[in-house]
C-alpha cells in the first residue's frame, strides 16, 4: 500500500515532509475544570503522517479527551501536543491546527450546522475566509469524495445516520484537513451505516494518504487500523499493531476489552488444548490455522 501517494483531492496542499509526525503528544496531562482526577494522565503517543490508528478503551477512559487535545479544543495542563508541527498551546495557530486536524463526533445529528447538505460542507471553509469560487470547488470535490454528491441539496434530517456522518467527513475534507479524528463515529449507526463510514475513512486513508485517528468501541474496526492504542483510567496502557495488542490477553482481561471474534475463537481453542499461533488474527488466518492443526 502506498501511503505517501498523495493523489487527487489534496494535491495543492504543501506537504510538510514525508515522514513527519502528524500528531505528537508528549507526556500530556489534562484535567477538566472542577474535576479532581485527570482525564488524561501522562500520555505520550505519536501518530505518523498517513497512518490509520485506532484508540480503544471504555467510556470514561480518556479517549475522547485525548481527541479534543488533538484538535486544540482543549490544551494540556502539562506536556505538549503538536499537530503537523504546530503546538496547540500557540494560540495564533489555533485555526490552522483545527483546519489541519478535523474532527467527526459521535452524534450524527448534532454536528451538522446548516439546513442544506452543501451549505454544511461549506461551513468550515467559509469560517476561514476561503473565496466563494474556491469553496464551491472544494465542496463539490468533498461531497464526491464521500459519495454524497447526489444529496448536495437535501436537508440533513432526511438522511440516514451513515449519510450524515459522511457529510460530516466531507465538511472536514472541504477544510483540506490532512488529519481526521473520529470520536466514536459509528456508535449510533446501524451495521449498514457503520460500513459506509468505515469504507469511506479507509478509502481516504489509502487513496489520499489522509491520517486517520479512529476512537471506537468496536474491536472489528480497531482491527483494521495500522496501530492500536488502548486507554484505561486516563492512561495509555498498550500500543502496537492490532495483531500485537489483541494477542496480549492479560492486558485485555485487565481492561475488560473483548478481542475481535477470530481472536476469541483462537483463545478458546488454545485454552482447550488446541494451540494456535498467537499471531493468527484475521478470519482467514484463524481458519487456515484450524485446518492445519486438525
Amino acid at each position: 500500500m502506498d501511503k505517501s501517494g498523495n493523489v487527487g483531492y489534496n494535491k495543492t496542499k504543501t506537504k510538510t515532509g514525508e515522514f513527519m509526525d502528524a500528531i505528537r503528544i508528549e507526556n500530556c496531562t489534562f484535567t477538566y475544570e472542577g474535576d479532581t482526577l485527570p482525564a488524561v494522565d501522562h500520555v505520550s503517543l505519536t501518530v505518523r503522517e498517513g497512518e490509520f490508528v485506532a484508540i480503544l478503551g471504555h467510556n470514561g477512559s480518556g479517549k475522547s479527551s485525548l481527541a479534543k487535545l488533538m484538535n486544540a479544543l482543549e490544551t494540556p495542563d502539562e506536556g505538549t501536543v503538536t499537530v503537523a508541527g504546530m503546538r496547540t498551546d500557540e494560540t495564533d495557530k489555533l485555526w490552522q491546527i483545527r483546519a489541519e486536524a478535523g474532527m467527526v463526533f459521535q452524534n450524527p445529528d448534532n454536528q451538522i450546522v446548516a439546513a442544506i447538505v452543501e451549505d454544511d460542507v461549506a461551513f468550515g471553509p467559509e469560517n476561514i475566509g476561503v473565496k466563494p469560487a474556491e469553496i464551491r470547488r472544494r465542496v463539490d470535490e468533498a461531497l464526491a469524495a464521500v459519495g454524497m454528491s447526489a444529496y448536495a441539496k437535501h436537508a440533513p434530517h432526511t438522511l440516514s445516520g451513515g449519510q450524515k456522518q459522511r457529510v460530516a467527513i466531507a465538511g472536514i475534507l472541504a477544510l483540506q484537513s490532512r488529519i481526521i479524528i473520529l470520536d466514536e463515529p459509528t456508535a449510533m449507526l446501524d451495521p449498514l451505516g457503520r460500513r459506509e463510514v468505515l469504507d469511506t475513512i479507509r478509502r481516504l486513508n489509502r487513496d489520499d494518504g489522509i491520517t486517520i485517528v479512529l476512537i471506537t468501541h468496536f474491536m472489528e474496526e480497531a482491527a483494521l487500523a495500522d496501530r492500536v492504542f488502548v486507554m484505561e483510567d486516563a492512561r495509555l496502557v498498550a500500543e502496537g499493531t492490532p495483531r500485537e495488542v489483541f494477542a496480549d490477553r492479560d492486558m485485555l482481561r485487565r481492561t475488560g476489552l473483548t478481542p475481535p471474534n477470530p481472536v476469541r475463537l483462537r483463545n478458546c481453542l488454545t485454552d482447550e488444548g488446541l494451540a494456535l499461533p498467537a499471531d493468527a488474527f484475521t478470519d482467514e488466518e484463524v481458519i487456515e490455522e484450524i485446518c492445519r492443526s486438525l
Binding site: N59, N261, G273, V286
Partner: protein, 286 residues
C-alpha cells in the same frame, strides 16, 4: 401473557402527501415466555411493529391482541395494557426528568394505587434489577449519573411496572462493551425472574444468537423469517438477502465446512464453534 398479531398493516399519513406503508400484513404469535430478537435493517418496519404492541400506534388494518386486549376495540383497557407491556425506547436516558433517580423510576407507578411503602419497595427492586445500588443512587439526580447508569435508571423506570412483556428498541446502542454486557444481563435476569417475554430490537447478530431463543427477521414491512436462531442463521443466503450479517460463528463454520472440516453448520457462538472443532480433533485423533 400472549401476543397475537394478525395481518397487521400500518400506513403512515394515509391519504396525505407523505403516505407510506410501514407494515404489510404482518402476522406472528408468542405465547410462551421467551427472549425474542426482532431484526432487520433500518426502515424495515421494526419500530412501527413494536409500537403497536402497547397501542402507541393502532393498526390501519388487521389486529393486535396483547394479553387478551385488542388494541383497536378495548379502548378502556389501553392504560392497563401500557402497564403490562413495558416499552424501552432507543436512548431511553433522554426521557429522564425527575429530581431524583427514585422519583423518576416511580413515575410509572403514580396512578397505580400502591401505597408509598409499596412503591418504594418496587423502586428498590427495579434498581436491583438493573444493578444500581439503591442507597447510593436513589436520591441522586439522574442527570449526575454516567451514560451507562442513566440508561439503566431509565430501564428501571419501565421494569418498575413489572410488565409481563418487555419491549426494548436497541437497548445497548451507543454503549461501550461493558455497558452492553450489563444490558444483556438485565434482559436475561428479568426474563428468568418474572417469566416475562422480552422482545428486543437489535442489529447485533452475535448478541441475538447468544441471547434469543427466537428470531423474527423483517424486511419491507413483512416478516421474512421466523424461527430459532439456529434455523434462521443456518440459512445464510436468506439472511444476507435481507441485508443482515450472519453471526461470526455460523459464518466461520460455513467456511470450515467448505474446507472439509465437518463442523455442525448451525453453531451460534464462538464457544460452540470451538467445542465443535475440538470434537472433530478428538474424532480424528481416535
Amino acid at each position: 401473557m400472549s401476543i397475537v398479531v394478525k395481518n397487521l398493516t400500518h400506513i403512515y399519513d394515509q391519504g396525505g402527501p407523505f403516505e407510506a406503508k410501514a407494515l404489510d400484513g404482518v402476522s406472528f404469535e408468542a405465547h410462551e415466555p421467551a427472549i425474542i430478537g426482532l431484526m432487520g435493517h433500518t426502515g424495515c418496519g421494526k419500530s412501527t411493529l413494536v409500537q403497536h404492541l402497547n397501542a402507541l400506534l393502532l393498526p390501519t388494518a388487521g389486529s393486535v391482541v396483547v394479553c387478551g386486549i385488542d388494541t383497536r376495540t378495548d379502548k378502556s383497557r389501553l392504560r392497563e395494557l401500557r402497564h403490562r407491556v413495558g416499552m424501552v425506547f432507543q436512548y431511553p436516558e433522554y426521557q429522564l426528568f425527575e429530581e431524583t433517580v427514585a422519583r423518576d423510576i416511580a413515575f410509572g407507578l403514580r396512578d397505580s394505587g400502591l401505597s408509598e411503602e409499596e412503591k418504594k419497595k418496587r423502586v428498590r427492586a427495579a434498581m436491583e434489577e438493573v444493578a444500581l445500588d439503591y442507597d447510593t443512587y436513589a436520591e441522586k439526580s439522574p442527570f449526575d449519573l454516567s451514560g451507562g447508569q442513566k440508561r439503566r435508571a431509565a430501564i428501571a423506570g419501565v421494569l418498575v411496572m413489572e410488565p409481563e412483556i418487555l419491549v426494548m428498541d436497541e437497548p445497548a446502542a451507543g454503549l461501550d462493551p461493558r455497558g452492553k454486557e450489563e444490558i444483556d444481563d438485565i434482559i436475561r435476569r428479568y426474563h428468568e425472574k418474572h417469566g416475562a417475554t422480552v422482545l428486543i430490537v437489535t442489529h447485533n447478530m452475535d448478541e441475538a444468537a447468544a441471547l434469543c431463543s427466537r428470531i423474527l427477521v423483517m424486511e419491507n414491512g413483512t416478516i421474512a423469517a421466523d424461527g430459532s436462531p439456529r434455523q434462521v442463521f443456518s440459512d445464510a443466503e436468506r439472511v444476507k438477502a435481507v441485508g443482515l450479517d450472519v453471526p461470526y460463528a455460523a459464518r466461520t463454520a460455513a467456511a470450515l465446512i467448505s474446507r472439509g472440516v465437518p463442523v455442525r453448520p448451525d453453531v451460534l457462538t464462538v464457544e460452540e464453534l470451538a467445542a465443535e472443532i475440538l470434537r472433530i480433533k478428538e474424532e480424528r485423533r481416535a
